[in-house]
């Protein structure tokens, strides 16, 4: 369970999928860091990741974290977006229909209430239907 402050503080990064790209070696990392994890450079540029990507791995959580009972079964995936990866929830799909390699697109959705009663909206991913 998170707090209103945290969601407010992170809104820009979370909703715009802001990663950091290293100006020296080109490595892209999400979440953004203060120094490049590969070459150590501090010359990093903010960059929005693409909103479409591919599921690298996923899990279906049956025993939820406290506060997420209403979102169970919860599908969480690692998603490749351009040159980076993002961990997020996958929605609008039955658990048995998720697969590695599935194409997904970002969407803004409500998530579990914060400890202090806020109703945060975050990026989730839904299947990309052609």
């Amino acid at each position: 369970m998170t707090t209103i402050q945290r969601v407010w503080r992170l809104k820009n990064t979370l909703l715009n999928l802001l990663a950091s790209r290293c100006s020296v070696c080109g490595h892209v990392t999400y979440p953004p860091k203060m120094r490049c994890p590969v070459c150590g450079s501090r010359e990093l540029r903010e960059e929005s990741l693409p909103r479409e990507g591919e599921v690298l791995s996923y899990t279906i959580i049956r025993v939820p974290a406290k506060g997420f009972e209403d979102f169970t079964p919860l599908i969480i995936a690692l998603i490749k977006l351009g040159d980076a990866k993002v961990l997020a929830e996958v929605v609008d799909v039955k658990p048995e229909e998720v697969s590695v390699g599935m194409r997904v697109v970002a969407t803004v959705r409500r998530t579990a209430q914060t400890i202090d009663g806020g109703v945060p909206y975050v990026i989730k991913f839904k299947p990309l239907r052609s």
């Binding site: 979440p31 860091k33 899990t59 406290k66 998530t111």
Partner: protein, 375 residues
């Protein structure tokens, strides 16, 4: 190492955090000829569950160490290994000659939902927990990625649990001493697909201690075991920014550095205790240390590799899966168990060995300590 002490891992409703830690600490002190330590290093992750911090003072006072130096070390599930390394460095630096390292965890105080939430604090609160992912969920992501990349079947990974219960059934300190079948694992409930209950370690209370002495250790014990090498490495807490999802950089780095410090070749290791919080963690740890090629650990253990008597024999204690995983104490249990193996007095399955290794992993591979021990 002049002495070790452990309490049985399990559900200790009748014992507090200080009772558990004190019991293990006094046992280690007794083994060391009732010497009094000059410093106490405590490893712990989640004492906030019992609304208690300032652990070194609490435990130190309980066992009569007022006036000694005391501190707590935290590195999620890797806190115990880190505490050992901290204790070692206090002795190696010459600051103290006698240091007691105690790992302790008390989980059975709160409803399991609170404990599960607490364990997830090892992950990234801003970028992972905000989505409701659990610690099992994060490991499930690694497991599916591994299975998908290497074409490893669920059953091959699950067989690890069967092997661990077999080893642990002989360990009097173990929490789950029943033998299980592959069928039992495959019929256990799904926690975070593909991870089932029996792929996972249990929740545990427990405490373990080791007594480190610099000079004159031979005056205190006839069977001293030496810390030949110790090293810790970190990696990202979040999985998103990991460079590789099927390899634990911190496991590999800390293993390599501790072996180098010990001037030991991996092939000399006779016994090892590794961190199998989930079956996938066992595979990743075994491969990242270098005991098996990448993607090959499940095949190796299915063919009898790492079983009692093999070199190395891995997790004769039953590992986290069967001995249990009292989070911040686990790294100290591993060291105490390997010390007993090298001394030849481990009360469960015991094999003769000169060199042992322990690896304690915090988070999903984000804080790893490897210790090389020599008789």
């Amino acid at each position: 190492m002049a002495g070790v002490g452990m309490v049985n891992v399990g559900k200790h409703v009748d014992k507090s955090l200080r009772d558990l830690a004190g019991q293990a600490a006094l046992k280690a002190m007794e083994e060391a000829g009732n010497e009094v330590p000059e410093a106490l290093v405590v490893g712990n992750m989640l004492s906030s569950l019992v609304e208690q911090e300032n652990l070194a003072s609490l435990i130190g006072d309980h066992i009569g160490l007022r006036g000694a130096c005391g501190l707590k070390v935290e590195g999620a599930c890797g806190s115990g290994g880190l505490a050992l390394m901290t204790g070692y460095s206090l002795v190696a630096s010459g600051l103290f000659n006698k240091v007691l390292v105690v790992g302790v965890e008390k989980l059975f105080e709160r409803p399991s939902a609170d404990v599960i939430r607490g364990l997830a604090y090892a992950a990234d609160a801003d970028y992972e927990l905000i989505y409701g992912v659990t610690f099992s969920g994060l490991n499930a992501l690694l497991m599916r990625y591994y299975m998908s990349k290497y074409g490893v079947r669920y059953e091959e990974l699950a067989y690890w649990s069967v092997l661990m219960h077999k080893n642990g059934s002989r360990n009097p300190y173990a929490q789950l001493r029943n033998e299980i079948t592959l069928d039992d694992v495959m019929k256990s409930p799904v926690i975070a697909d593909p991870i089932r209950l029996y792929d996972s370690c249990p929740l545990s209370d427990g405490a373990a201690a080791v007594f480190l002495v610099g000079e004159d250790v031979k005056k205190l014990t006839d069977t001293p075991v030496t810390v030949a090498g110790v090293s810790n490495s970190i990696d990202s807490t979040d999985l998103s920014s990991r460079l590789e999802l099927d390899y634990l950089l911190a496991s590999s780095t800390s293993a390599r550095n501790s072996l180098k410090m010990a001037k030991v070749d991996l092939r000399e290791v006779g016994v090892a205790e590794i961190h199998d919080a989930y079956t996938i963690t066992a595979a990743l740890s075994i491969e990242s240390i270098g005991f098996a090629e990448r993607g090959k650990a499940p095949k190796a253990w299915s063919e009898g590799r790492f079983s009692p008597g093999d070199k190395p024999s891995i997790n004769l204690s039953g590992g986290l899966k069967s001995r249990g995983h009292p989070v911040g104490a686990t790294g100290v249990y591993q060291v105490a168990e390997v010390v007993m193996q090298l001394r030849g007095d481990f009360p469960g399955i015991s094999v003769p060995a000169e060199v042992g290794l322990t690896q304690n992993i915090g988070g999903a591979g984000s804080n790893v300590t490897t210790v090389v021990l020599r008789r």
